[in-house]
């Protein structure tokens, strides 16, 4: 087992910078998720670890070894692809065995090979399918074969490039749990690329959020969710996404508030925000509540004026979508919570402790 370190790693394709000065340390045995929208450079970063892409500049280390110019087969890594990339002309057993046969230098004798194939197949519940061809398997089973092919070589690092995105929703949830279990069992470092924040939140030890080839934030899932480092991370992580609205910060004697075009938002901790600064307020759907609109002027309380536009029932909870000025804001409530009726004028009140404050110019977090 080994950690992986990116030290100022950059990858350029012609004039396009896919990964820009990435510095990231992935610890030995860690489940690290690289998360970001498509085209953010996460797959390129993974492919550089695999050796499928050359590093343009910077230093990439696996364990103690700088691998910038080490060919893939000498890196002792295994990779699971989105399409599984199984060899269609080989049986499941041959597919799983392939890494043990392919590398002449690290070749294992036939008896040991058969044993390791059996072992990997058993871990992933594939024993009865060993003689089948990939074409005769379901998507979930193919996915397992790809995983078995990865674990059979006992690699230093697992690389996974959106391995669940070709599965249906139910199977994806199930496989997510199995991957976490597999990681717990093997303890091998996993670098996992996805654009799905649910996968990132549920599986990762730490998440690295990327956008436009740059690292935005690294941290434990809960920390990234609770204290997003900038506006991008704030709006990318969380479903429904964080509500944002621009305004001006005013640090009054009693409490800090942000004045927006459609009302005021109270902030418990303005952090490094200065009086009169243009800011963007972010509030998670679960930190917004509805209040009667009549009380707004009466006691001078904070709140955003809006109209209920839609109520989505999800069984265990309810999303109330309100039009506030130009934009839409979403509230998330338990089912028994009183919801507004569609078309009703309402006041949206944010929990001051749940208000995130971002610099309007740099988009960096202020509190």
């Amino acid at each position: 087992m080994s950690g992986v370190t990116f030290d100022g790693v950059t990858k350029r394709f012609g004039d396009v910078v896919a990964v820009d000065q990435l510095s990231l340390q992935i610890h030995d045995g860690e489940f690290m998720v690289l998360l970001g929208p498509s085209g953010c450079g996460k797959s390129t970063a993974l492919r550089m670890v695999a050796g499928l892409e050359e590093v343009t500049s910077g230093i990439l280390t696996i364990g103690e070894r700088v691998v910038n110019h080490v060919p893939p087969r000498e890196r002792d890594i295994a990779m699971v692809f989105q399409s599984y990339a199984l060899y269609p002309h080989m049986t499941v057993a041959k597919n799983i065995e392939s890494p043990l046969v392919a590398n002449k230098a690290a070749r294992v004798d036939a008896a040991r090979r058969a044993e390791r194939v059996r072992e990997a197949a058993a871990i992933l519940g594939l024993t009865e399918y060993l003689d089948r061809k990939p074409g005769e398997l379901s998507g979930g089973q193919r996915q397992r074969v790809a995983l078995a092919r990865a674990i059979v070589r006992h690699p230093e690092v697992f690389l996974m490039d959106e391995p669940l995105s070709n599965l249906d929703a139910k199977l994806r949830t199930q496989t997510r749990l199995e991957l976490v279990e597999l990681h717990r069992r093997l303890g091998t470092t996993i670098i996992y690329v996805t654009h799905d924040q649910v996968e990132a939140m549920t599986m990762a030890d730490r998440i690295a959020v990327l956008a436009d080839g740059r690292l935005q934030q690294v941290g434990e899932p809960q920390a990234v969710y609770e204290r997003p480092a900038n506006l991008f991370v704030a709006s990318f992580i969380g479903s429904p996404p964080m509500n944002t609205i621009a305004g001006t910060l005013s640090l009054g004697p009693g409490a800090a508030t942000v004045a927006t075009a459609v009302g005021a938002v109270e902030v418990a901790d303005p952090g490094t925000g200065v009086d009169g600064a243009p800011v963007v307020v972010g509030v998670r759907p679960e930190h917004l509540d509805l209040a009667p609109v009549a009380s707004a002027g009466a006691d001078g309380a904070a709140g955003l004026e809006g109209t209920v536009e839609n109520v989505e029932l999800l069984g265990h909870e309810r999303h109330v979508v309100c039009r506030v000025g130009e934009s839409l804001m979403t509230l998330r409530h338990p089912n028994d919570h009183p919801a507004g009726a569609v078309g009703e004028r309402v006041r949206l009140v944010a929990d001051p402790k749940g208000v995130h404050l971002f610099d309007a110019r740099t988009t960096e977090r202020l509190n």
Binding site: A50, L52, R73, N103, K133
Partner: protein, 315 residues
Amino acid sequence: MSSAPAATEPAADPAGTTLAVPPAARAERLRRRLREGGLAYLFLLPSLVVFAVFFYYPLYRLVWFATHQQSRFRNRPATYVGTEQLTETLSGNDFFDGLVHSGLFMVYTVPLGIVLGVLLAVAAHRRLRGIKIFQTIFSSTVASSVAVASVVFTTLVNPEMGYFRDVSWLSLRSGDSALFAVSLSSVWQNLGLTFIVVLAALQTVPDELTEAATIDGYGPVRRFFRITVPLISPALLFLAIVLVVHALQAYAQIEILTGGGPGGATETLLFKIADPRGVRSLGERASLSLGLFVLTAVVAGFQYSMLSKRVHYGD
């Protein structure tokens, strides 16, 4: 390969229900079946007509000619000789020589053609600037006719002024090298087709498979033979069959390059059948044709059974 269950087949009626059907309904059902059957034959008719006109009738005439001896005098009818003419021709030296020449032509053109086509396609299957230009050049022989290509080749090996005039194994004047030289010209003429087919097949191999193989630890050569070749094997089978057919049917290039010479060294079976100098009787040529027909059928059957075991068709 997964085979879909025959879903359209109607379930057999249990005996009871069939008996219960009133006669009127049964007649209606029969009418419907006849109508559908008639429609099916109507749809089949065009291809049946084509087969009958261009295949079954000529085959029948071929057998007729092979079993009849033509009179030297035009107005005298041909006489029926049974299999006598056929066995005599097919056991003679003429047929044997043609068989050897056709066989050699096949051996020279098919493996070399496939190997060269694969090499070219692999070389051109990369994302490089200007690669389309090379791909166009490599596939250009598809667009040139056999006659034009043969004339170009004749010029190249012309003993007085040809670029390859000193290359003895390309000489069309020597009985030892002529067949090989003609074969080489055919390999070159078929190269465009082979190149295009293999390149298209290579482009269907997903990048991720090659990458997975790279990470598994296959070197480029083993990766090619263990992963790529099995995946393009349907295209290779197709090419093997097409090139064998091309080899057995080669005529124009032989006629243009050597006219069957020197000393009959490039007379393949088909060339003897076409018999441009008119040295064989119609009955002999028909017999040779039947021989070639059987040979082609045997080769195709052999190829299909041998290669289809090793060919992988998708999933």
